[in-house]
């Protein structure tokens, strides 16, 4: 009797069958779908609006695709929109932002990597205290430092210039970047450093020949952090520069928030998308490296 009954458990063999529509799956994918819609819908509205003409926007169909697609808003946002007396669109802000971004990112990463290397491998008397002070710096609200920095920049005659802002960004990037590099270098086996010392390499020799070639993942992380952080910065930009040297974010704000005349929603959308393009491209290019680097730096600390 017993052996004629098909017992599914006794027959079990090979991989366990999986149900495609289990309750857990529906819940997980349902949530993911909902969240995606929540984040993608505004982006969709921005994109379609930026390709519409003003008459079409006035009809009020926010979600409808453009009936007469036009590039005019993009052209206007980039080259013609007026902020104050300058009517050359966002292109001026873009070039300012690039001029601020490249030296800020390069300088801050160069300095922070040496900082992190020294703090991880060449411990000196008080190095831990120094590191703690540096980290505490990351937690002081920026607002308290705004005015003192204005005075300092004025005294060194950099107030209002791009180089003043570069200096501010470099200094403010120090705590987090130093932490990042220090933790990464700490995770590199100590014996490697010792071996290099026995082999006669000095401070810079070990840095350039041993440590730097091994730190590509963390450099990529630092680049992403700095590029997005500095590109998206508004506060420092608006305070330490003047209209001629405003970065792109400040100029975007001035275009979008101008109270005179008609609100050109299509131009505003196009301008916003243009401004967000740089961090977006960075993420797409380096997403994989970013995750790897964050993990590499975070495990040991």
């Amino acid at each position: 009797m017993a052996d004629t009954i098909l017992n599914p458990v006794a027959e079990a063999r090979g991989p366990r069958p999986k149900k495609a529509f289990s309750r857990a799956n529906i819940f997980i994918y349902g949530t993911l779908l909902l969240v995606s819609v929540y984040y993608l819908l505004p982006l969709y509205v921005m994109i379609v609006t930026s390709f519409k003409g003003m008459p079409e926007i006035r009809l009020g169909n926010v979600f409808g695709p453009p009936l007469e697609p036009t590039f005019q808003p993009w052209v206007k946002a980039w080259a013609e929109a007026c902020t104050g007396i300058n009517c050359d669109g966002l292109s001026r802000g873009f070039s300012n932002s690039v001029k601020i971004l490249i030296p800020s990112v390069t300088l801050s990463i160069l300095i922070a990597s040496v900082n992190g290397y020294a703090l991880a491998n060449w411990k000196f008397k008080g190095s831990e205290t120094f590191f703690t002070i540096l980290i505490i710096g990351a937690f002081i609200p920026y607002q308290t430092m705004l005015y003192p920095i204005v005075i300092m920049l004025r005294e060194i005659k950099l107030m209002g210039s791009i180089w003043g802002l570069v200096l501010v960004h470099t200094v403010f990037g120090m705590p987090i970047l130093t932490l990042l590099f220090r933790n990464y270098f700490t995770s590199i086996p100590d014996e490697l450093f010792k071996a290099a010392r026995v082999d006669g390499a000095g401070f810079w020799g070990i840095y350039f020949k041993i440590m730097l070639p091994m730190s590509l993942p963390i450099i990529v992380v630092a680049i992403i952090l700095q590029v997005t952080g500095i590109w998206n910065d508004f506060l420092f930009g608006v305070i330490y520069t003047k209209p001629d040297t405003y970065p792109m974010t400040v100029q975007l704000n001035n275009i979008v928030n101008s109270v005179q005349g008609v609100k050109e929603y299509n131009v505003n959308m196009a301008a916003t998308l243009l401004t967000g393009l740089v961090p977006l491209v960075i993420y797409f290019i380096s997403g994989k490296l970013f995750v790897r680097g964050i993990a590499a730096g975070a495990v040991k600390g």
């Binding site: 010392r197 026995v198 390499a201 020799g205």
Partner: protein, 362 residues
């Protein structure tokens, strides 16, 4: 060729005393093994000799030159690490030449030295590979090669075989010994593995808690351990320790439980001893004779087998002697099972006697 000597070396990490007034003299060409459990300070001592750690007090001499404040590269040392510590972004050749390039040696000389080291270590086919493409044994060979090309007088090994599997470890152990016989360099080798220490060393320094407990040839360390720690650390399975006391006019009788063991033929050390003081008698499991062989021994006893651990070549038997746990070794072919009675015997002349309080050899 160089001597290495360490004078009154002290090293503190904050309040922790890692090395305490350490003295050590290593003659030219000696293979010295620093042996100890983790935390004994053996690796720290090696790092001090290498110049990778600043000492708190004391001096280090290499080839009669005071190198206490010298940079590692100026000490004439080569070092091999446990984790190999090969530079991952460089090829094997790059790894070997890194130190030589830093020393600004001419290109031809670098080539010559790499060629020679590669042939000694049989790594010629690997020269263009990256470390990640090498096996553990090959990596450690390259690491040894990196010390070799520097043409140094003193080799420092920091647990070089600990990361390898058992078979490779045995192979490389022999290779290191062969290397020493061929080069006749002074070598200082840190390990926690007593087999490595016994097989490689000219002399062993057994360390514990920042001091050297005994510095002698493997033979003496094994047969006449200076204190109970060394006796217990060296030898596998561990030595049996019997608690008891001394008696007799010459304090040459060891009493434990109801047994009186006359220590005839035992070579007493210079330590003071007195009748009625408590003492520990150490007997190595492999020095216990069994059955027919036991008859000839000065001390004999019939014991009951409690547990049997067959290990192939021999069998370890757990039993009780004088109401204390007692292990002894039998032939691998011996057939015993728990409950059996076995006759055992040992010669107290070959045993070790320690003071219970100071744990020093009596």
């Amino acid at each position: 060729m160089a001597t290495v000597s360490v004078k009154d070396l002290v090293l503190n990490f904050g309040a922790v005393k890692v090395l305490r007034d350490l003295n050590l003299n290593i003659p030219t060409g000696e293979f010295l093994v620093l042996l100890g459990a983790s935390g004994s300070g053996k690796s720290t001592l090696l790092n001090c000799i290498a110049g990778l750690l600043d000492v708190t007090d004391g001096q280090i001499f290499i080839d009669d030159k005071n190198v206490t404040w010298s940079e590692p590269k100026d000490r004439g040392i080569g070092m091999v690490f446990q984790s190999y510590a090969l530079y991952p972004q460089m090829t094997v050749k790059g790894n070997l030449s890194f130190g030589l390039k830093n020393a600004k040696l001419p290109k031809a000389e670098i080539e010559k030295r790499i060629e020679r080291a590669a042939s000694v270590l049989q790594i010629e086919p690997l020269l263009d590979r990256k470390p990640s493409a090498l096996s553990g044994g090959q990596r450690q060979r390259v690491a040894i090669g990196r010390a070799l090309v520097r043409d140094v007088d003193v080799f420092l090994f920091d647990e070089p075989l600990s990361n390898l599997d058992a078979k490779l470890r045995a192979d490389l152990r022999v290779e290191i010994k062969r290397l020493h016989q061929r080069l006749k360099n002074t070598m200082i080798y840190v390990t926690h593995d007593q087999v490595e220490a016994m097989t490689l060393a000219d002399r062993i320094a057994v360390m514990s808690q920042g001091i050297i407990l005994q510095l002698d040839t493997p033979n003496v360390i094994y047969n006449r351990p200076a204190n109970k720690y060394v006796a217990g650390f060296i030898g596998s399975p561990e030595m049996n320790f019997l608690d008891g006391s001394l008696s007799g006019a010459k304090a040459d009788i060891f009493e434990t439980d109801d047994k009186k063991i006359k220590l005839s033929g035992y070579t007493f050390s210079e330590q003071n001893r007195s009748s009625a003081q408590s003492a520990i008698l150490g007997v190595r499991p492999e020095q216990v004779a069994v059955n027919d062989h036991a008859e000839a021994m000065p001390v004999t006893e019939s014991v009951e087998v409690e547990l049997v651990e067959p290990m192939g070549a021999d069998t370890l038997v757990w039993s009780t002697f004088a109401k204390q746990p007692f292990r002894f070794r039998m032939e691998g072919t011996a057939i015993v099972s728990p409950g059996d009675k076995v006759k055992i015997g040992f010669d107290p002349a070959k045993a070790s006697l320690f003071d219970t309080d100071t744990e020093l050899r009596l």
